[in-house]
């Protein structure tokens, strides 16, 4: 057996022994996922076990270096782990902006001290992070941000308002963009800083969305002390890292267009719900819409795969994250419009015994934000037109 075959067998055996039964099903809704953090209340003993067991091996962040608590897996091994988890429908042990966003940025741009301080608690799910990017006056035009960080020698004093802070009221730390040089050109003079949400002067306030949930906050910064050793990269050079993070965010949000392994496909959901006669779904117009979506979704999933493979082999054109973000989010919106058509009047039930907390209509409304957050579809099309097509 090759090393990889051995790794696969060991991984399979370990998962078989260590993945609790209730963790072998897709996450039903946002409340069902494990986000960790200081204030986290586990939904079940098994959710806690699953996180602890995976974190102990560093498998919450499989490809991060072991010295920072990660799994230290090679790409091929990380892929096997993913496949083996999918094989038994194992859900992710931890959903985390630490793992998805600030962690990779720290690995690339952070000082050794910052990596040592922040990465291990992220892997263990002990510290939950939020992102302080957008402001009331800086949405699509993010570089126009005005939150200021005044230089006080060994620290900054931050003042201003952030908005669309994901789970700002539940997070422990924020990674935040501040204007630290008010005289520099727009993109210059921005720094990426880290601070604890319990620092005096930080006030997150949840925003209720059309979906009824409050995954975002507006966060007020009132004379917040930010230590200079918590600047990621160089002072006033934060825009480069911010763009790197936006690319990550685009990829993450774009992946909403992918169907989770182990879940029913839209076609299967539709077929079960409206019925099939003589091989064809009963409702021909719905069938036409569903099959068109399935074809696009298959093509999109293959494209995500191809882009990754091209980057690995050095063939890619790069800058495709804008396309994946644009297409994936539009696809996800279409998916939920079809979910409404499939489930008919049941899809209108906001709150009811068999409605999984109104999951269909609430998710449908939530998807409307997918093509806004992380850069609107229109901004993605601008990026493609300018950076890839060279249209000025």
């Amino acid at each position: 057996m090759s090393d990889l075959q051995v790794f696969r067998q060991e991984t399979r055996d370990w998962l078989e022994t260590n993945c609790p039964q209730s963790m072998r099903s897709p996450v039903r809704n946002a409340d069902d996922a494990c986000w960790g953090g200081r204030n986290w209340t586990f939904k079940s003993e098994e959710q806690k076990q699953w996180l602890e067991r995976m974190a102990a091996r560093g498998w919450t962040a499989p490809s991060w270096p072991a010295e920072y608590g990660g799994g230290g897996l090679k790409k091929a091994e990380a892929k096997i782990l993913k496949e083996e988890m999918a094989r038994i429908n194992a859900r992710s042990p931890l959903d985390s902006f630490g793992i998805w966003m600030i962690g990779p940025a720290l690995l690339q741009f952070g000082s050794e001290e910052l990596k040592q301080q922040h990465l291990p608690p992220i892997v263990r799910g002990e510290i939950r992070w939020c992102q302080g990017y957008s402001e009331p006056g800086a949405g699509s035009d993010l570089a126009g941000l005005q939150c200021k960080g005044e230089d006080r020698g060994d620290h900054f004093i931050a003042n201003g308002q952030k908005v669309w802070t994901s789970y700002g009221d539940k997070a422990d730390w924020m990674f935040c963009l501040l204007r630290t040089d008010p005289d520099a050109k727009k993109q210059m003079g921005i720094s990426l800083v880290l601070f604890d949400m319990t620092t005096p002067g930080v006030t997150p306030k949840p925003i209720k969305l059309i979906s009824g949930s409050s995954p975002f906050c507006e966060t007020f910064l009132d004379n917040v002390r930010v230590e200079k050793n918590q600047v990621v990269g160089e002072v006033n050079q934060g825009w480069t890292i911010a763009k790197y993070l936006l690319t990550h965010e685009r990829e993450m949000i774009g992946s909403f267009g992918l169907t989770d392994a182990g879940s029913d496909t839209l076609g299967q959901i539709a077929a079960k719900t409206v019925g099939v006669e003589q091989g064809r779904m009963n409702n021909p117009l719905l069938r036409a819409d569903v099959l068109k979506w399935e074809i696009d979704a298959a093509a999109f999933a293959l494209t995500a795969e191809r882009v990754t493979d091209e980057v690995k082999s050095g063939q890619g054109v790069g800058a495709t994250s804008a396309m994946l973000k644009y297409y994936g989010t539009e696809l996800n919106k279409r998916r939920f419009e079809l979910m409404l058509k499939i489930h008919g009047s049941d899809a209108m039930i906001w709150d009811g015994a068999d409605s999984n907390g109104g999951w269909v209509p609430r998710s449908w409304l939530r998807t409307k934000g997918n093509s806004i957050e992380g850069g609107t579809s229109e901004v993605q099309l601008n990026i493609i037109a300018k950076n890839i097509l060279g249209l000025g």
């Binding site: 064809r280 069938r287 093509a299 191809r306 493979d309 644009y326 993605q380 099309l381 493609i384 249209l391």
Partner: protein, 379 residues
Amino acid sequence: MAMVINEEQQMLKESAQGFLAEFAPVSELRKLRDEGSATGYNADLWRQMVDMGWAAILVPEAYGGLDFGHVGMGQIIEQTGRTLTASPLFSTAIIGASLINLAASDAQKSELLTAIAGGELTTALAVDETIHHAPTQISMTAVKQGDSYRLNGEKRFVIDGHSADKLIVAVRTSGNLGDTTGISLLILDRNSAGVEVERTEMVDSRNAAIVRFSDVSVSADNLLGEEGQGFSALSATLDIGNAYLAAEMLGIAQESFDRTLQYLKERKQFGVLIGSFQALQHRAAHWWSEVELCKSVVLKVLQSLDQGDPRSPAMASIAKAKLCEVVELATNEAIQMHGGIGMTDEYEIGFFIKRARPAASLYGDYNYHGDRFALLSGY
């Protein structure tokens, strides 16, 4: 399998690109059209393709072929979509070679495939009888009489049917319209007694034919495979054909995009380049994104065919359907963004929309393949 092409395939792609751009650009198709070419293709060009080994790519080595695989051949066909090159490559070296390889006996293969690889034989597949693709709706009959079959019926949209040396015909030897069993495959000379070929010049300036068979006698030795059992080889060949039509349409979608993008960077109105207008930028960016998806499905179906993946039929329908959709978008946007000049015959962009529709229609359009994909998916 990684979704990238290897170095050899990349080299073939580049050499095809160079060769076709030099010897078979769009202007060659215009010339063939304006001269009223009898065959619809340039025999010298075909000879050069054969000399480069293109006719042998899908033929197994045992029969004098290169056995280079579908991903390799797909690179060439994609390039012929960029140059709109007319040649027997599709109907002979892809459809003919694949069907014979799938259905025929060793003796037949050794005769026919060797001839195809050497450029000594061209073929045309006659399958459809109705205006919409329906490979089980075969009413043309072949009645066995002693050692031969007597053929009666009519076939439409027979690509290269006016020029090919031999016709491969899907006929009904038993069963009813719509049955998959009872379909047989026969190969015969185009100029056999009782075969009437009506050349139909198509919108793409390429040639197809309506072929009528009246009491045509064909030896039972010319049966490819078992009597009544031809459908599985036919169906697998149509999957292959659709994968290549998708590859050709990918070439069309990319070339019409590249030409339009260039135009957006040259054409001025209101004192500025029209490519500076956001209304056009966003449409171009959307179009580009759709083409990216097309690249993935085309590569995937070619890889699936090379690997003998059981999901190949579904993948073929996904690829064909997606490309039908996007090539329609691409060619319509190309004309619209070129404005008035795009409507002129003198300008080449019109040739792309005219080739795109027959390529989409052949062996099943979007509706056919969307329906088939859903059926294969259980709904």
